[in-house]
């Protein structure tokens, strides 16, 4: 056990834990966040995604020590139910969910990519999402929501 300092959604946290603990468990169990989720624990599906230094990373395979001190953004950090972030709003407008379990990975992966690549083509966006799963296969609506957000970023 050792002290680890984390900055999550703009708030500082000091925690005493095994620094090898994957970030996901710290977020969902020590800090009680419900955005990032355990899907596979192997970095294959995207459910656990968080944004660190503008990059979407897989928190299920990232030891917490690797992100100590860095600004970490989870899905909760984008917007709220009353004031959703534009990408969250786009998903509501397109009604782009079924069970909703994958939304965390889909939204954060798309956001991190589009914020850096606002002029991305549809093909490039699909490429960026080639490692993200939605097993309800809400692809049509999700890709539409992502395109809606891209247009907003590109403006």
């Amino acid at each position: 056990m050792s002290a680890v300092n984390l900055k999550i959604n703009g708030r500082e946290h000091s925690l005493d834990l095994d620094p090898a603990t994957p970030l996901l468990y710290v977020l969902s169990d020590d800090l009680g966040l419900s955005g990032p989720k355990f899907g596979c624990g192997l970095g294959q599906c995207g459910a656990c995604t968080v944004i660190v230094k503008g990059q979407a990373i897989r928190s299920c395979i990232t030891p917490v020590r690797a992100v100590a001190g860095s600004e970490i953004t989870t899905l909760e950090g984008l917007g709220t139910i009353d004031k959703p972030h534009p990408i969250q709003r786009a998903f509501i407008e397109e009604q782009a969910a079924q069970c909703g379990f994958c939304l965390n990975g889909v939204i954060l992966t798309a956001k991190a990519y589009l914020d850096k690549n606002p002029k991305a083509t549809g093909e490039e966006i699909r490429q960026a999402l080639s490692n993200v799963l939605c097993r309800c296969f809400t692809n049509v609506r999700m890709l539409r929501a992502i395109e809606r957000y891209r247009q907003e970023v590109a403006r």
Binding site: G39, C40, Q98, R126, L133, T138, N139
Partner: protein
């Protein structure tokens, strides 16, 4: 026991000013001046042949379904849960419609054994027919409106015919100032009324809420990470468990070396019960380390049949046979036919492969247990958990919390048993989430199928006889009321799955096409009555059920998808043989108007031009179109789908460019929700048709993650999807969530044939199999 409820549930109850259980028990009743009898034809008993379990509010009583608070807000209670299929909004619309209140005023609470009526499983495309026709939730709404009008009639001194209900207020038609609100009439009090089967439903022509696209109420919470999945349930004092599953199929515990995990920080307990092994620790990471480190000696497994030869293996197993239809002249007619065609189709085991591995939280304290589970059947989870824990069922409360989309029997039930066993061992609340491998290696897969089809044609190319003979492998199932051994944890803890006894087929008694084992083109004549949807009189459908080496259970469109793949591919082969257009040939052999109409609607929307398949042969990348249709479960919804594909004949890669899906599920409750199901079903069906297959070696399953079990990712080249929704306001509501997925594999296979002349008879259509079929064309 009542420690935790959903936020919306407790808010609704608070608003209403009473506790739900007290409310249902209380005798301080408001008496409404008439009563009526049952008429609940879609009860659990009727649906599944299982008597409802005691303890839940009685389904025949209005108060079990609907409560009106003093402020006029409505709380509805349903036994059909939201799994991501959209039924919660449709049910909310239904209640708002029947009670003539804005949808915002209705809160829906579903699937809590202490609060909601027992409606058995949420499965089998049954929620829409069960709750939207003439019983259950729909009839509760109609009964409540009738009762409110009766009460208002007394209060306002006007006959019910002179009254109009709108926005929760009842007024007299000729003097709108004479009015009374629902809250004033019954707020906070009971109706004490049986559901009235004669209470009139609001006619679809008057609908203002039902039939309109309504957004999903949960979505703002979902997109902002605020939604509470079962994975997010946290209970004070909760510990974290992990299980240790056998390394191979059939292996049993020889010894567990508890000392091997002594040094893991935070370890609370090692739990062993027969072959069930698990650990409990203070934190999840500690539990994971303990489970990984624990030394368990297992016996050798029982071994598995070779995957390469599996379909032959299945044919040779002892079987329990089921004859669905038999005109007894099939062999004779086939022998007389001008043309005889035969083909065999193979469908693999496929998995639910939920995106989030399954999770549950259980709090077992002495004689009582509270369980948060994503099970599709809280009442059966209650009785089977009670068996596992040695508790009285009435002392077990199961509360549904949404899991990751399940598409049928995923790991939700088994992980609930895991959590319950571990919690009981430590007398504290325990959360368990399976690893990806535990989820995928031990879930109850969708059944593998081998299907032999033979058909005889007359000189004009019409089908005069058709024989269907199938083999399917099954083991375990949903636990039902008393079979916890139907999933892995129950077996490990000492319970047995459904017994398997080989048995010859009995003569069919009545037409039942629940599994779609009878092709749509059969007249389906049994016992003098013809229930089929087609014209073929010489007909036989025989199914051999054999024991599976793997766990099996319902996977979205169970058996129906596999059978439809075979039937609709074969129909295409027959049409091609006589050089008929595939649409025309189908219509020629269908007798059912609604099924014919979806075929025509899909063809029309796809700009289908009549010609036989295949198209003239070309080299390189070629394109084609294919169609397939189904009367789901014989009579529970109708769909047809046109697929347009491109096939790269050098690589064997298939790209779907467009789907056109036509569906008829009776009156449409929420068109946007239906479209969402059509689109998701089409793409999930495409993933299953093109890549998904459970694999194994001689000891164990080897498709245990997303590298070894191939699913299409979010970013694949998604086809354009056009949904054609045929609204039938005057028909009964049917299922909708399995309509598109059932017909995808055949439509794609038929399109590949149209493009190339190569026939794919084995799912999935991997590039290797496509290339093999291309090579076999000659």
């Amino acid at each position: 026991m009542n420690r935790r409820m959903t936020r919306e549930a407790s808010n609704a109850l608070q608003r209403a000013g009473f506790s739900r259980r007290d409310f249902l028990k209380s005798s301080g009743a408001l008496i409404v001046g008439f009563t009526a009898g049952g008429g609940l034809e879609r009860t659990a008993e009727a649906q599944f042949g299982i008597a409802p379990i005691g303890g839940s509010p009685p389904a025949g009583q209005l108060d079990s379904w609907i409560a009106v608070a003093a402020d006029g807000s409505i709380t509805a209670y349903s036994g059909k849960e939201e799994l991501g299929q959209g039924i919660s909004m449709a049910q909310t619309q239904l209640v708002a419609e029947e009670l003539s209140v804005p949808i915002e005023r209705v809160t829906l609470i579903y699937c809590d054994t202490a609060l909601t009526p027992d409606q058995s499983y949420t499965s089998g495309s049954q929620s829409h027919p069960t709750n939207f026709n003439h019983s259950n939730l729909a009839q509760a709404g109609a009964t409540a409106r009738q009762a409110l009008l009766r009460l208002a009639s007394d209060r306002l001194g006007a006959s019910a015919e002179q009254l109009i209900a709108r926005d929760g207020v009842i007024r007299t038609k000729n003097d709108p100032t004479r009015q009374v609100t629902y809250g004033e009439l019954v707020g906070g009090k009971k109706f004490t009324l049986a559901l009235d089967p004669k209470a009139p439903r609001k006619p679809p022509a008057e609908w203002t809420v039902l039939g309109k696209p309504v957004p999903q109420r949960d979505l703002p919470a979902l997109v902002t990470g605020k939604f509470e999945f079962v994975h997010n349930v946290r209970v004070p004092g909760m510990l974290h468990g992990r299980v240790v599953r056998p390394p191979s199929v059939g292996a049993t515990v020889m010894s567990v070396d508890e000392s091997s995990v002594n040094d893991v920080p935070g370890l609370v307990k090692v739990v062993v019960r027969k072959n069930f092994v698990g650990v409990v620790a203070e934190k999840p990471w500690q539990a994971i380390q303990a489970a990984n480190k624990m030394k368990v000696q297992w016996t050798a497994g029982t071994g598995l049949p070779s995957q390469a030869d599996f379909y032959n293996y299945v044919r040779k197993q002892p079987s329990r046979d089921n004859l669905l239809v038999d005109s007894k002249d099939v062999d004779q007619k086939l022998a007389q036919a001008a043309t005889l065609l035969k083909a065999t189709y193979h469908h693999p085991y496929q998995m639910h492969g939920s995106m989030g591995s399954s999770c549950a939280v259980a709090d077992v304290q002495g004689e009582k247990a509270t369980i948060w589970s994503a099970t599709q059947g809280v009442w059966y989870q209650k009785t089977t958990s009670a068996m596992l824990l040695g508790l009285k069922p009435e002392n077990v409360r199961v509360i549904f919390r949404r899991g990751s989309g399940c598409y049928g029997l995923n790991g939700a039930d088994t992980v609930t048993y895991d959590a319950a066993l571990l919690s009981q061992a430590v007398a504290k609340p325990v959360r368990v989430q399976l690893t990806r491998k535990e989820e995928m290696a031990w879930e109850n897969y969708g059944n593998a199928f081998v299907i032999d089809l033979r058909a005889g044609l007359d000189a004009q190319g019409n089908i005069i006889a058709w024989d269907h003979e199938a083999w399917t492998a099954a083991y375990g199932n949903r636990p039902g009321a008393n079979m916890p051994g139907n999933v892995i944890t129950g077996l490990l803890a000492g319970f047995q799955p459904d017994a398997f006894t080989p048995q010859a087929a009995a003569a069919p008694r009545r037409y039942n096409n629940n599994s779609n084992g009878i092709p749509s083109y059969f007249s389906g004549c049994v016992g003098g009555a013809c229930g089929g949807t087609g014209t073929i009189k010489s007909e036989r459908a025989l199914v051999h059920n054999v024991r599976s080496p793997f766990w099996t259970g319902p996977l979205r469109s169970p058996a129906r998808l596999q059978n439809t793949f075979a039937h609709e591919s074969f129909m295409d082969e027959l049409a091609a043989r006589v050089k008929a257009d595939p649409v025309e040939y189908r219509l020629r052999h269908l007798s059912h108007e609604r099924l014919s109409e979806v075929v025509k609607a899909a063809a029309k929307a796809a700009n289908w031009t009549a010609r036989p398949a295949p198209a003239p042969r070309k080299a390189g990348v070629v394109s084609g179109r294919g169609i397939a249709c189904v009367a789901y479960e014989g009579d529970n919804g109708y769909s047809a789908l046109v697929a347009e594909v491109e096939v790269n004949q050098d690589t064997g890669r298939v790209s779907v460019r467009r789907f056109v899906c036509a569906a008829d599920c009776g009156p449409i409750s929420n068109p946007d929700g239906l479209r969402n199901q059509m689109e998701g079903g089409a793409l999930q069906g495409m993933s299953r048709a093109l890549g998904e297959e459970v694999t194994w070696d001689d000891q164990k399953v080897t498709s245990v993650d997303w590298r070894t079990y191939r699913t299409l990712p979010l970013g694949f080249d998604v086809p354009k999807i056009d949904s054609v929704l045929l609204n039938r306001p005057d028909e009964e509501a049917t299922g909708a969530g399995e309509l598109s997925i059932t017909v995808v594999a055949a439509a794609i296979g038929n399109a590949i044939f149209d493009a190339t002349g190569a026939r794919l008879r084995q799912v999935p259509f991997t590039p290797e199999r496509v290339k093999a079929a291309l090579a076999a064309r000659g």
